[in-house]
Amino acid sequence: MLRGFTNTLNSSQLQAGETQLRVENIQLNFGGVAALMDINLAVRQSEILAIIGPNGAGKTSLLNCISGLYRPQRGRILFYNDKEHEVTRLKPHQIARLGIARSFQNIELFRHMSVLDNLLAGAHIHMRSNLFSSLIYWGTAQREHIRFRRFVEDIIDLLEIESIRNNTVGSLSYGLQKRVEMGRALAMQPSILLLDEPMAGMNSEEKEDMARFILDINEEHGVTIVLIEHDMGVVMDISDRIVVLNFGQKIGEGTPDEVRNNPLVVKAYLGEEKSPFKFGQSNNNNHGKE
């Protein structure tokens, strides 16, 4: 069933292709260990950008810098919406309010809440009713609540989780929890959606579903997507551009074809001059470095 969204899922005001997020010379150290070294990258409106790299390359650290959980020692991160915002020194909740949503590598849902409440919690930044009207749940608070319930139902439709909307998320399967977590991020009506390994630990059917949802969100609603993923098949299929990290450095960037033929990338993954991206065969053992 097709129907229009009551609230658009996308709060960005940019045209497709305009630069939306710019990471400039980011340096992040943990003690003496450099997690990110001089990283530069730009994310454009409405694209799907994949960040790949071997384990420990700094992918999640980069996402954490963008969403404000880590503070890089050097460099800055700029976010463009109505105007230029420097987000490097902002707190996570301030960054969220600008329209940057994310999911986590290890599911970080609100375990004791129902699916509905998790999604409604995702829409937190859009709720305006004051404390007093919330306490009596009358007038604005109630109307607002019902409006957001309708909005959240649209996300439930989109992600096909109708049958579990009243379940406690702690009791759901791993694949469904990942889906709910993406839904919670979507309820923020984000400009950019950062997905940290949305398909980790899923079987191929669940991965296909997830890939379809990501493409729907991107194509129908124009939400920019930055995703970290290890499954090369999925990455090559759905992303517009790919950034490759290795030991905290950016070693490649470009379209899937360019990255596939980049000798540095091939070396990082295989240690030899041979394409790692052969589909139909397991590439789990390709992550080892020589």
Partner: protein, 349 residues
């Protein structure tokens, strides 16, 4: 899971009571509370207990908002109640403020003190926060006992009887209506709070604080808000104690009280308003029940008089241990199981 019930609007689906059984249970409870003071009008003992239970419920709901819903462990309950009781008592006894005005002032004063002692919660979690709130308990009681010029120090502070239109309110029968009307208001407000984004933000902080901050919840603001709302209600419980007893002494607000209230919400059920009701009722009635049993057994075991305090303390500890082992989710879970059983009765599933 309730099945076979269909709603045709989100408004109905989001209502608090959605089935006939739920509505009927509520009406029965309501009628019982209305009839109670008339049934026991001549029996002051039961009315006193009812008032104590009502005040304990308000305090337990307050603590549950902070500990059960927001996940910020607090051992400062007794101290915060002391702030409420002494503010109300001092304003009425020394400044001649009417009881209702001093009660409102006490709520806000306690909320302010709660926020002050909630500030460490941004950095501290779990046991460390528990110790920080314990310091609130110690500091507040120290001030109360040492600032004799205002609080009366270790002496009792006598509060004038509250009156409304010339009627003395703190008789057991009259105060019942004050207490339980406030219980009703507090319950409605709390239940509503957790239907809206404020309450969800609290639960989000408890379940996953990092995810909550990435969803746009300002952790500092909402933790302090939880401390404020919680302390507001705890202050209300304290102020009611002051006006009901007409006397405020520091012994009523020691760390034992903090532990007692924690026990109430653990036994009742963390993160549940119903649990706060059940826990507060249970923990208030248990000592009374034991005392009565002791009196009844006096004839058979004359030694029981001297043993009774130990039996009470022992039972208190035993009950907590048994609940932690056998039903960590508390009385609220037992109550849910009973409801589920009868919903499906006579079938087993």
């Amino acid at each position: 899971m309730i099945s076979g019930i269909f709603h045709s609007s989100y408004e109905k689906d989001m209502a608090l009571r959605r089935t006939h059984a739920q509505k009927i249970r509520l009406v029965i409870l309501f009628l019982f509370l209305l009839a109670f003071p008339f049934i026991f009008r001549e029996n002051r003992y039961y009315l006193t207990l009812a008032n104590q239970v009502g005040i304990a419920i308000i305090g337990a709901i307050g603590l549950n908002i902070l500990v059960g819903y927001t996940g910020q462990i607090s051992l400062g309950q007794g101290g915060f109640m002391a702030v409420g009781a002494y503010t109300a008592g001092i304003l009425t006894a020394r400044l001649g403020m009417p009881w209702w005005a001093s009660t409102i002032a006490a709520c806000f004063a306690t909320a302010l003190v709660g926020v002050l002692f909630g500030i460490p919660s941004l950095r501290l979690k779990g046991l460390y926060l528990a110790i920080a709130t314990l310091s609130a308990q110690v500091i507040i009681l120290w001030i109360v006992t040492n600032w004799g010029a205002v609080t009366g120090g270790v002496e009792a502070l006598v509060v004038p009887n509250p009156t409304l239109f010339g009627v003395r309110l703190n008789s057991d029968f009259n105060f019942y209506w004050v207490t339980w009307l406030l219980v009703l208001l507090v319950t409605i407000a709390t239940v509503n709070l957790f239907r809206t984004h404020y309450g969800r933000a609290f639960i989000a902080i408890r379940d996953q604080d990092i995810a909550a901050s990435v969803m746009g919840v300002d952790l500092f603001k909402y933790k302090l808000l939880a401390f404020a709302i919680s302390s507001f209600l705890v202050g209300l419980a304290g102020a009611l104690t002051a006006h009901y007893r007409s006397i405020v002494t520091w012994e009523r607000f020691t760390v034992d009280v903090s532990v007692l209230y924690l026990a109430m919400i653990i036994i009742g059920g963390l993160g549940s308003v119903t649990g706060s009701f059940l826990g507060a009722t249970f923990m208030t009635l248990l000592p009374a029940l034991l005392t009565n049993l002791g009196r009844a057994a006096r004839g058979t075991f004359p030694a029981i008089d001297s043993l009774l305090p130990f039996i009470q303390q022992g039972t208190f500890g035993l009950v907590i241990i048994l609940f932690l082992i056998f039903e960590p989710e508390g009385l609220n879970k037992i109550w849910r199981n009973i409801k589920d059983y009868f919903r499906l009765w006579p079938f087993s599933y």
